[in-house]
Symmetry: C2
DNA sequence: CTAGATGCAAACAGTTTGCGTCACT
DNA sequence: AGTGACGCAAACTGTTTGCATCTAG
């Protein structure tokens, strides 16, 4: 067994049972390049725990997200949603209830890049998401761990 | 029949047949508050065209997105994807192939708000998506209409 | 010892597709 | 008149759930 220490401590801090499955899933997410999805994680984890089930992978990803051990790329990954305001604008997003509110484009200073982008990338638009807790969720006691 | 003119011209410009279904779907998206999903649009459209099928709504939403008549809230609405880099960072997103590349947080000047946010909204983090066409798609001739 | 985690299978939600018919251009 | 849009049903993908069994604390 490897340096299980870190992960066990991490779980303990978040009041999660430190199971072997969890450790492997967690390590796998950190080790995979890019932005892996559950299926990819499952495929990779299965090389170390062939008997693991996809449901366990899903359940633990949810657990990790809920306790802030992992983060997802976007809070909007559910069903397709359309803009009804066709003018460019930004979004205010509640990380608890995921409500999306529009924020007119000039409510945010134009975003400035400090860094060269990868060669050949042609910028079309810059979208800003302001993530936080909305008033309604705030009063219900919602707290964001890490978003 | 109402001022069909605008919509017919719009369709003509985009080389789309101007059907009654399309017009009602389009008008419905613009008229619904917030960020409607296909199911909500379907429910609303059915009040004007009871015989319409959900498949038609989906097909036409896709058509509108492809020709830039409508825009979606987020390009990341597919399956759940996890961050493997746990440090805060931004994203470079190709609007054609939807590839996501990380951009370290200090590659972007800190975002500054010019406007008061809704009362009680507590900001946790600001996420920036730089939308554009990546080099690979660019060389394949991909063009973004409106993103 | 017990609450909670796992694995399996079945259920579900959202979306897409194939195909025969119908309508816009 | 012909290409493409519509409507229906069936297929598919990604995800969740119920339940019996097992395991970490």
């Amino acid at each position: 067994m490897r340096d299980t220490g870190n992960f066990r401590a991490l779980c303990h801090r978040h009041r999660l049972a430190a199971t072997h499955q969890r450790q492997v899933i967690y390590e796998t997410v950190l080790s995979l390049p890019g932005h892996p999805n559950p299926e990819e994680i499952y495929g990779q984890v299965r090389q170390r725990i062939p008997s693991i089930s996809l449901a366990t992978v899903y359940k633990n990803i949810r657990t990790f997200l809920a306790s802030g051990l992992l983060r997802e790329v976007s809070l909007h990954h559910g069903s397709l949603r359309l803009e009804n305001d066709q003018r460019p604008h930004h979004h205010l997003v509640c990380v608890s209830c995921r409500a999306i509110t529009d924020l007119q484009e000039d409510g945010v200073e134009p975003v400035r890049l400090r860094q060269r982008l990868p060669r050949g990338f042609r910028v079309k638009r810059i979208a800003v998401d302001i993530l936080g807790i909305c008033a309604a969720c705030s009063s219900k006691g919602a707290r964001a761990k890490r978003v």
